[in-house]
Symmetry: C2
Subunit: 306 residues, 2 copies
Amino acid sequence: MSEERFNELRGEQVVYAIHRQERTFLPTREHCPLCPTRAGGDATEIPREAFEIAVFENRFPAFEGPRGAAEVIVYTDEHEGSLATLPPERAEALMWVWRHRYSELGAREDVRYVMIFENRGVEVGVTLHHPHGQVYAFPFLPPVPERELQADARAGGCAVCALLAAELGDGRRVVYEDDGVVCFVPFAARWAFEVHVVVREHRASLLEFDAAELRSLAAALQALVRGYDALFARPFPYVMVVHQAPTGASGAAVGGHVHVEFYPPLRDADKLKYLAGSEQGAGTFIADTIPEESAAALREAIAHGA
Amino acid sequence: MSEERFNELRGEQVVYAIHRQERTFLPTREHCPLCPTRAGGDATEIPREAFEIAVFENRFPAFEGPRGAAEVIVYTDEHEGSLATLPPERAEALMWVWRHRYSELGAREDVRYVMIFENRGVEVGVTLHHPHGQVYAFPFLPPVPERELQADARAGGCAVCALLAAELGDGRRVVYEDDGVVCFVPFAARWAFEVHVVVREHRASLLEFDAAELRSLAAALQALVRGYDALFARPFPYVMVVHQAPTGASGAAVGGHVHVEFYPPLRDADKLKYLAGSEQGAGTFIADTIPEESAAALREAIAHGA
């Protein structure tokens, strides 16, 4: 159902998934397809009366076998809430689910890159409010991880390790840390409140995490999203992306260091950052804020939200 | 006032222009800073009672000397209207203004890339409705033109010439043409109604255009925007970017073929394409429509709008 075409001028694949145009758009709460199937109610995507975390194939997939996969991960059977409001043990269980999906999809012959992500808020085009994330198993290595591999080559080692050391050394942009992970607004953030959540030890994927690191990652993600929500006293829209090593043929000989990147479109309580002339036409982000100031505000909000 | 920082993981510069956060936001018509300064009214950016086309330095610049420049080009002293509704001779004069700004800014020692563009519509973050465009003179070569040079290297010649020949050979995605230029939805469009306006002859910049080609370009841009507006019977938001050869040290030995790219965020009359997980996290566009169908609809709308 999907078609890939190579865009020569940009040097990247574009994917056409035309059946997606008709996908479910902001259903009312009683018709939510991510809620459990309750006696007397609609049959939803999940044929259970209750569940903890549910994973299933996207009904409107950007990718499907034998060229990749697209899955939905529902965080809870409760319609309200967010990653931030899950009980800590559920958030921790979600990390194990992420690890499992990376392991299973990454082992497939047709998959080159497993990307776990969450879009939150109508500002980034969310069509279902029930707390959930997604997984895309790409049948090719996309541009962003390819650029991260180029960054490793320029760094002569792991670029993420080098950036983490620099951020810890500077300290002004760090917003949260514990024994396992560090969160910071990066030195050259593209978004006003962009944050990278980086595991301290060099780990190519979640498969290399120990249980304590998975717990640290869950706690950091929850603390960060609570801080985001506290920052402007409103649910904070974002795109969250888990970066891990490429898999399959393209991953065999290459690096990667687990980090979760958050791209929030808000640059102020009621102002959105739009991607317009410079971002789209030149590929250069123009920011209206500086990372040190954003980090100071966010650090305080995280402390407040704790 | 601006600061550039290199984003290691993306391999690109990010520009911090913090004074821009306070820029003028959707003023009422009587306080429009791009209208002429009328007797008894506000002093606007343009100290004249009437004008044809006005160019001035952006008061909230992303770039300024000695590291680049940011200019505003006002198309008309009439507050209402668009590129499409200008008299044809005014649109043609605008092409000469573009050529002049490319020539003057491109000759500067500190400028590596001159990008003329227009953001249209609140959907792409427009803060002033008066018909106008902008020029950014970048003090570095941004990622998008760099990728176009890589495309030339892969093509072993001009990639734009090769793509134009392929589109003319196929024909299904061509939406408008005359002796000087061709407009098409590209084979691997990222946006549902993306269009490239390409000059038939190989021209590195507008400086190489003859008068007839400038006239053709103006007419094509106007026909296209009229078609866009006719497509869904509403003003059609877009980002329009004029791609020309890099200048200065980076342009001396390199290629370029003038083409104007339109990136419209609408994928249907009332549906926006958002850049979310896949676009931001992987750099891969997922489209809901196929270029051949978009081209058929747009070709008809252009004929209707003529």
